[in-house]
C-alpha cells in the first residue's frame, strides 16, 4: 500500500530540514501569562511590539500561577517556557529554589526620561530574579443595579449582613480574605500583619469570616467574579481590579469598585533557569518591562506601571477612551486606604493556613 503520494515526500523532507536548521534563523520564545483580558493587554502592549522590533516570534501560553510547571521543567531539564509572569511570592520562592535566573537590574533599559533603571523602578519593583511590571490589587465590587438605597463604602460593609443582605463572592484561598476580615473588624491597616502574626489575631480573623461563611460563594479564576456579579449570583464580590474595570468600560456593566481596604500587590516577570534561549528571554524582559511597554499594557487594563517614568505615559484607554488614572489601584485617591500585600509573611504561613482554611471550609 502506498501511504503518501510521491510528490508530498520531497515537500515533507524540505519542511523537516527547514525545521532542523531553524536554530540559526530568528528565534521564537515562549512567554507565559494569566490569559483573559490581562493576557490580551500584554499581548497587544508588549508581545506584538516586541516581535515587530526584534523579529523574535512569541508563543503565548496561559497558566493560573504557581511554580509546579516551572519546577517540573527545570527538574527534567526540558525547558520550553522562557519568560513567566509571576506573583511576587512565587518569584522569590522560585529564586530561592533555583528555578529562576537572577536578573541584574542594571541590564534593563533606563526610564522614559533617562533615569537609570535601578532608580526608575519603585523599591518593591525588583527582586533577585524578578522584574516588576505592574501594580494590581484585590478589591471588592458590587453591581449597582442589585443594591438599591445605601451603597456599601467600606470594608466593614462587605461583612455587614444586616445592612447588605445577600451572597458574597470570595476567592477560595486564605490570603487576602484574612486581611479583609481584620480590616473590617477595625484593625488599623499598619497593624493587620502584626495581628495575624499572633494566634489570637488569626482566631479573630477566622471568627469574622465565620460570620458571613454561609453567604459566601468561593471563586477560583479571576474571570468568575464579574460573571457572578452580572448574573446576580452574588451582590458583591472580591475581585482583581482590572477584571472589574474591563467589565465596566468594555461591557458597560454597572459595577462599582470599593477601594477602601484594597490589598495592593505587585506583579513580576521572571526567566526560567537554564533556558537555552536566555539571550532572547533577557531581551524580552528588558523590552516588556520598559516604561513604554508598561504604559501600553496599562492603557488596556487598569494595572499601573512600576516604573516612575511609566505613569505619565498612561493616558486613556485605547478603546474606550476613558482616563486611566482614576481607575489605577496605586493612584493616590484609590490607595489612601490600601494595604500592601505582605508576601513574605504569606510565604512563611501559607502551608499551615491553607490546611486550617480548608479544614474551616469543610466544617
Amino acid at each position: 500500500m502506498r501511504l503518501l503520494p510521491t510528490s508530498i515526500v520531497p515537500a515533507l523532507l524540505a519542511a523537516v530540514s527547514v525545521a532542523a536548521c531553524g536554530s540559526d534563523a530568528p528565534q521564537s520564545i515562549t512567554t507565559v501569562s494569566w490569559g483573559g483580558s490581562y493576557g490580551r493587554a500584554v499581548n497587544e502592549g508588549a508581545n506584538i511590539p516586541f516581535t515587530e522590533a526584534t523579529g523574535i516570534r512569541i508563543e503565548v501560553e496561559d497558566y493560573n500561577g504557581g511554580l509546579a510547571q516551572i519546577r517540573a521543567q527545570v527538574d527534567i531539564g526540558d525547558i520550553h517556557w522562557d519568560v513567566v509572569d509571576l506573583e511576587i511570592a512565587d518569584a522569590v520562592r522560585g529564586c530561592d529554589e533555583g528555578l529562576l535566573e537572577p536578573i541584574d537590574v542594571n541590564s534593563l533599559p533606563p526610564g522614559a526620561d533617562g533615569t537609570p533603571a535601578a532608580e526608575d523602578f519603585v523599591a518593591e519593583g525588583q527582586t533577585e530574579c524578578g522584574v516588576g511590571n505592574l501594580y494590581w490589587s484585590t478589591v471588592y465590587a458590587y453591581n449597582d443595579e442589585n443594591i438599591p438605597g445605601t451603597k456599601p463604602a467600606t470594608m466593614a460593609d462587605f461583612f455587614d449582613l444586616e445592612a447588605f443582605p445577600g451572597r458574597r463572592g470570595m476567592r477560595r484561598v486564605p490570603q487576602v480574605n484574612l486581611e479583609f476580615a481584620l480590616i473590617a473588624d477595625g484593625v488599623p491597616l499598619d497593624q493587620v500583619y502584626a495581628t495575624l502574626d499572633t494566634p489570637e489575631g488569626l482566631d479573630r480573623a477566622f471568627a469574622v469570616l465565620e460570620t458571613i461563611k454561609d453567604e459566601v460563594i468561593w471563586w477560583e479564576a479571576g474571570a468568575q467574579p464579574p460573571q457572578m456579579l452580572a448574573d446576580g449570583e452574588v451582590i458583591m464580590s472580591t475581585a482583581y481590579n482590572g477584571r472589574i474595570f474591563n467589565a465596566q468600560v468594555l461591557e458597560n456593566q454597572p459595577f462599582v469598585i470599593v477601594w477602601d481596604g484594597q490589598l495592593l500587590d505587585v506583579g513580576q516577570v521572571g526567566i526560567v533557569a537554564g533556558t537555552p534561549r536566555l539571550a532572547e528571554a533577557l531581551e524580552y524582559v528588558a523590552f516588556s518591562t520598559s516604561a513604554e511597554s508598561m504604559a501600553r499594557i496599562a492603557r488596556r487594563i487598569s494595572y499601573s506601571p512600576m516604573r516612575r517614568s511609566g505613569m505619565p505615559l498612561v493616558t486613556t484607554h485605547v478603546v474606550a477612551g476613558v482616563e486611566m488614572e482614576p481607575h489605577m489601584p496605586a493612584s493616590p485617591a484609590n490607595s489612601a486606604r490600601a494595604l500592601r500585600y505582605d508576601w513574605s509573611w504569606w510565604v512563611d504561613h501559607q502551608d499551615e493556613l491553607n490546611e486550617r482554611f480548608s479544614a474551616w471550609l469543610a466544617r
Partner: protein
C-alpha cells in the same frame, strides 16, 4: 510440567512481541510514574543532602536546650553553601511545613551568613533570628532530615510526630484529610447509587427496544459522553445557579419565592448532580451490554410459571444483570473517587473532594511528598474496596457483556 517444544516457544515469543508495545507503553506511562510518585511519599533526600554534617551532629543532641556550638558551625557552613547552590529554598520549604514560619528564618539566615566571616556561630545565628535559640527549630530540621520518612503518610491521616518521637493527632483546626477521605467515599457511594437508579431503567429500555430505536437511545446516551467535560459542567452551573434556568422556572411556577431561590450549585448538591450526570454513561454502557445477553424469554417463562412481574424481575432478571451492575458500579465508584475538575468548578466550599487537595499540593504548595502520600492512601483504599468486592461478590462475576 510439560516442557514447551521449540515451535511453541517461538509462538510464545511472537505473542510476547505483539503485546510488547502495550507492555512498554503501560510501563513507561503508568507503572513508572506511579512508582516514582509512591517513592516520593516516603523518600525525601533534599534536607539530608543539603545539611549532612549538621544532621550527623544533631544525632547526639538530647533534644533539650539548644544544640552545641559545633552544630551551629556546621549549619552555618552548610546553609551558606545551600544558598550559593540555590537549594536553600527547597530546604526552607520542607522545614517550614513542620514548623510554620521557618521558611524566611532559613532563607534569610542563609543570605545574611555570607556577610559574617567567623563564629561563634550560635551568637551570630541567634542575632540574625531569635528562632535559632528555640529547640523547636532544630527539631524541625532533624525531622525533615530523615531520608526515609513516614511523616507524609502521618500527615495524610491527620497525625503528626511530636518532638519526643510519639505520634499524636494534629491540632483540631488542622485536621482535614481524614474528613475529606470519608466525604470522598461517601459522595462516590451516593453517586454510584444514583447512577444505578437512573441508569438501570435506561439500560433496560435500550436493551429491549427494537434495533433502530435502541440505536437512537444509545446515541442519546453517548452524545453527552462525547461532549467536553467542561462544557457539561458549565452547563450545570447555568441550569442550577440561583438566577439560573431551574430556579427561574420554579419561581415562575410559584413553587419558591423570589427571595427563597434554592442554592443548588457551589455546594454538595451541585457536585453530586453534575458528577452523576458526567458518570452516568459509565453505568449505562456495561449494564446495556449485559442486559442484551439476557433472553427476553426468561421473563416470559417466569410469568407463565405464575410469577408476578416483581417476582420475575427480582428472581430472574436482576440476578442475571448483576455482572453489569457490578462492573458499572465499580467503574463509576473508582472514577468518582478520583474526580477533580467537576468538584473544583461546582463544589463550592463543602463540595471539595480529596482529589482537589492532591491537586493543590501538586500545583500550589509543591508538597509533592504529601500529595503522593494522599494518593497512596487513596490507592490503598480503592484496592481494599476492590478486595472486599471480590470477597463479597466475586470479580469473576463482573461482566462487560
Amino acid at each position: 510440567m510439560k516442557v514447551p517444544v521449540a515451535h511453541e516457544r517461538r509462538a510464545q515469543l511472537r505473542a510476547l512481541g505483539l503485546v510488547a508495545p502495550l507492555l512498554i507503553f503501560i510501563g513507561v506511562t503508568f507503572i513508572a510514574p506511579l512508582a516514582t510518585m509512591l517513592t516520593r511519599s516516603v523518600h525525601d533526600p533534599v534536607v539530608a543532602d543539603a545539611l549532612p554534617e549538621t544532621l550527623a551532629l544533631l544525632e547526639a543532641w538530647d533534644g533539650t536546650g539548644t544544640p552545641p556550638e559545633a552544630v551551629y558551625a556546621a549549619a552555618a557552613r552548610e546553609l551558606e553553601r545551600a544558598a550559593a547552590e540555590r537549594t536553600v529554598g527547597q530546604v526552607a520549604g520542607r522545614v517550614n511545613r513542620v514548623q510554620g514560619g521557618l521558611r524566611s528564618v532559613v532563607t534569610g539566615t542563609a543570605r545574611d551568613l555570607g556577610d559574617i566571616g567567623q563564629g561563634p556561630w550560635r551568637e551570630a545565628m541567634t542575632a540574625i533570628d531569635e528562632a535559632w535559640a528555640d529547640p523547636a527549630t532544630w527539631h524541625a530540621i532533624r525531622t525533615t532530615g530523615e531520608r526515609f520518612t513516614a511523616r507524609h503518610y502521618l500527615n495524610a491521616v491527620d497525625l503528626q510526630r511530636l518532638p519526643d518521637g510519639s505520634v499524636a493527632s494534629q491540632p483540631e483546626e488542622r485536621r482535614i484529610y481524614l474528613r475529606l477521605f470519608l466525604r470522598t467515599l461517601m459522595v462516590s457511594g451516593v453517586i454510584t447509587l444514583l447512577c444505578l437508579l437512573l441508569g438501570y431503567p435506561i439500560a433496560h429500555l435500550i436493551a429491549r427496544a427494537p434495533p433502530h430505536r435502541a440505536n437512537l437511545l444509545l446515541v442519546l446516551v453517548l452524545v453527552p459522553f462525547w461532549t467536553s467535560l467542561l462544557v457539561r459542567t458549565t452547563a450545570w452551573i447555568v441550569l442550577l445557579q440561583t438566577q439560573g434556568v431551574l430556579n427561574d422556572i420554579l419561581v415562575a411556577m410559584g413553587l419558591v419565592s423570589d427571595d427563597g431561590r434554592l442554592a443548588m450549585v457551589y455546594n454538595m448538591t451541585g457536585t453530586i448532580v453534575a458528577m452523576t450526570h458526567v458518570l452516568l454513561p459509565f453505568m449505562v454502557l456495561p449494564l446495556y451490554s449485559v442486559m442484551r445477553g439476557i433472553p427476553s424469554t426468561h421473563m416470559n417463562a417466569a410469568a407463565s410459571l405464575g410469577a408476578t412481574p416483581l417476582q420475575a424481575f427480582l428472581r430472574v432478571y436482576w440476578p442475571q444483570s448483576l455482572p453489569g451492575v457490578g462492573a458499572g458500579a465499580l467503574l463509576v465508584f473508582i472514577l468518582a473517587i478520583g474526580y477533580y475538575i467537576t468538584p473544583a468548578l461546582v463544589g463550592g466550599s463543602d463540595g471539595q473532594l480529596i482529589s482537589n487537595m492532591i491537586a493543590y499540593h501538586m500545583q500550589t504548595s509543591l508538597n509533592w511528598g504529601l500529595a503522593a502520600a494522599l494518593g497512596g492512601v487513596l490507592l490503598a483504599g480503592v484496592l481494599l474496596l476492590y478486595a472486599l468486592y471480590d470477597r463479597l461478590v466475586g470479580v469473576e462475576r463482573m461482566g462487560l457483556g
